[in-house]
Symmetry: D3
Subunit: 215 residues, 6 copies
């Protein structure tokens, strides 16, 4: 009997993987249930009668991220996985901390534009356009500056100061996604073949080997 129940509940679960979009919410809110086993386009939502203020709350964005890593930066992302009330509402937030000279390396968000404001420090920011082709648009930001990184374009920030730097961003999707170029191209699992990469980057294999071996 036990086995049958387990089996049946697994069967029931197998019927419960759903996808949905967050364009135009169809009620005031649809709070996600991040602990549920259901994997959907976004997340499933709770019974609205059980929704509480805490479902719309995330705590601790005042805590500095740990920047003790090779690139000297840390992104603390508050997306729908961290804040279930964001589900279907099309927005997220992030805090970025930078050690001195720390770098948030070239990356892109496949599903979001980012609006970025520097709370502390001085950073170099830039993004590269697709058309006009491969134009770098960059700026040195001071405390209080706000900058925009358009959806899907490669961008980065580097701390120029001797001190710590910190920024807050808004992103136009409940789950913006992050594709870090160096990791996606040279650290994927499995690796992209060196034939592809040597031709793509027009360098010798030993250089690709170094790019793939690092970290």
């Amino acid at each position: 009997m036990e086995k049958q129940l387990v089996l049946l509940s697994l069967v029931a679960l197998s019927f419960c993987n759903f996808a949905f979009a967050d364009e135009q919410a169809l009620q005031d809110f649809c709070v996600a249930d991040p602990n549920g086993p259901v994997r959907v386009n976004g997340l499933a939502c709770k019974n609205p009668m059980l929704v509480q203020a805490n479902d719309f709350l995330f705590r601790g964005l005042n805590m500095p991220g740990n920047t003790s890593n090779p690139i000297g930066s840390k992104v603390t992302l508050v997306n729908v996985a961290m804040l279930p009330g964001l589900n279907t509402l099309g927005i997220a937030m992030a805090r970025i901390d930078y050690a001195p000279w720390g770098l948030n390396p070239p990356h892109l968000h496949p599903r979001a534009t980012e609006i970025f404001t520097l709370i502390e420090g001085s950073v170099l920011v830039g993004f590269v356009t697709s058309n006009p082709e491969n134009r770098l648009i960059s700026k040195i930001l001071q405390k209080g500056d706000v900058f925009v990184f358009p959806k899907g374009l490669i961008h980065f920030q580097q701390n120029l100061g001797h001190g710590h730097a910190m920024a807050i961003s808004g992103l136009s999707n409940q789950n913006p996604g992050i594709v870090t170029v160096a990791n996606a191209v040279f650290k994927s699992n499995p690796d992209i073949s060196s034939e592809v990469l040597t031709k793509a980057f027009q360098v010798d294999k030993h250089i690709i080997d170094q790019l793939q071996s690092k970290f």
Copy 2:
């Protein structure tokens, strides 16, 4: 055994709260199952093989709403909860009845624009813009007039005549939502604190008390 089945079905249910949007339906129709226990962004949909003409039908919009209430008006909304065939299709309809001098009080639809046509009577209508700030755009409508209330803006209608008035509206969402200002601000549950309201409306507490105590 009974308990286990009940428990299991509750478990199964807990896996079945989903959200979805109605931007761009992905098949001809997705008829809602309003009786299902599942709460989603909109509603779950039926097996299309079980769909019948009645799923696209709502009856009785010819019946006058009961306007024997303090404001002298009644909105009969035909949204996806009343008409399951509307699910994912992005539209709804309403009938509004007005007793003599009856008022559909200042309210807004967080998810829809409203197109309104007066079938009978004479009413004053208005909406307030956010930019230019707080401009009232109003008009006296006669039978056969059509008027638009843009999405998310506060609007109202008042019957000017000695007789009954009636209107039909189309709304650009399967579940437009209604926020009646007086109720949301002064009748919420729990109350918004009188400190907030006295400062917001710049009046003495006894006035806020009266606004909160009425009805």
Copy 3:
């Protein structure tokens, strides 16, 4: 006990029919589970950990469709039902084969624009606009020509050559839908009444009878 389990699993299933849209995917992908019993706006998605390259693959579009039918054409559609990885991604593809003088008869896609390229042969293509009213926009295409059929408009293609013709199309929805005018109007199940059709087409009943009896 068996019955109870069957009953319970059916009950569980009945809680699991969901709808969702593909506007703005909320993760990299949401691979559909076309074999699942769940019917949704699009399809449910798999556990991303179980996703494989094959979920993004459809094989055999190089195989000519069978054009031995009264109209002498065959559409091979690769939509989300054939290629689960398309789920939530807003695009589909089709191959159209034409016997000599074969016709892809007047039809429309309720949910998609079509971009069409002729790989082989020579075909007459056309679509009819709604405004300006009922204007036919048509062209004779040769190998290598690309043409556009706007969303929701009636269009057709006819092979003009003595040989076989073949085209590839992209469509702007994971499930574009096809409404073939002759079938929808004269071959529906049940029939549209001849009173409606004789008045709509302004012809005698015996002509409607012929139109309804054929095939």
Copy 4:
């Protein structure tokens, strides 16, 4: 000088044909200027400072449409061309009048779902699905009934009564478009070739000739 000014103004105009969508209005309203020579995706909008209540008003929907025509029905559409305030707001309205036995013939709206309520009379309504293929979903409506016609599907209404019938519809687009099947297929300008039509409808040319010659 006159010529130069005329030439220049024409040049200026040639720079002013723009397209835009009404998904997510970016201000409270964007009132169309239907008299302007500019043709856009929707219509250009006025200076908001010059906007008046009349821009949100259309008069006369209480007037019966003239049904003295072969099909015995008349649609009075209130779209953005008639009501400039609808621009960018994604909704429109229509009044349909029916003579006894009058027919609103099989047609579709390429850009809108329709929610329909019968104000007076008794009508047979129906629409044909694309999947399941060519299923007719129909119903006899009485006064006060509300029915839905999903976006892009062929539908019709016929007055069953001895008296006049009248309905009001909401449509989910500022410019829904109407494709009347009989006219688009058999009355286009220029004609669709009889080779195409005889094969599409599987009937003899003389029948196509009659279908094309009528009206």
Copy 5:
């Protein structure tokens, strides 16, 4: 001649008021020209060849807003009017400053959800739902807390501390719009009639008079 040129340029302008939406940008960016006389759904965009890094930059969000006003708060909004690079990208940012006990009064954004993080101080926040009807969802936030205010719902924040408080918000639209309830209802221009307001709020005229006379 002068007059003719002026006249002609006005004529040219009259052809140049356009509307557009920011759903799905159609190139990397479309930088707004906020100084142009053209009023559109959003703003017109610059020649991409003339775009500079400064077009994506706004300076001074580190400067506290002036809270010397009756409500003791100040919102500094960075929308497309302040940051032209936001045009078509669907996001904006705001800084909110609060004097001790300062209030950001009940208001709503007709076109955006807000994600809010408290940088400094302690504030009471709340929003009121439309369904379940008029439920207040509120929370006391500390430094580092993040909270969500769903699109179109009435919300507020009040500084609970003896010191200054400050927050940063992201909003899901390039021009979210702000409707402050007290001003829209009691301070509109022209006034909403006291007949409407006394009935809507169910209070005597002298109370409405006070609500309308303040500020």
Copy 6:
């Protein structure tokens, strides 16, 4: 006088840079005017009365692209700039040619999902996910295979055969955009600083120098 006219026409132009989106076309079509000086979100559209069948036509996709270049591949893109009728319709098409062992290097489309079918040859295809992080999903495709590359993710194709290979793709945007990783990161104009790149890729400067110097 000449100068004044030139000046005036420039002024007129400055009023005519507009942006718009292609979500939900508001008429049957909005044919772009690619030759106009106006730069918009997409392109301006022609007077519909002047629209011709040729506006919906692009010729020559049967011509092989020139693959005599270091990577041995050539993409022939048919977007709205090549096919004005695509304007506002949300789709584009491409032909990709590959020399033996030719590579379409790692790149992404910031605004589109790609559905790809191999017409001739045998190619290795792959894309890298953002979550699960940096997973490579790859497959060897044969003639007739169809594969999907989700929006915003890095992907590539390499010809595995001794002969020429060719593919046709549909893309879910009228202007998908292409960001080729190697060029955007190592060949931007101006260069991304070597400090940023050495830290991002965790390699010595001489390796970055080689990556930046090539081509």
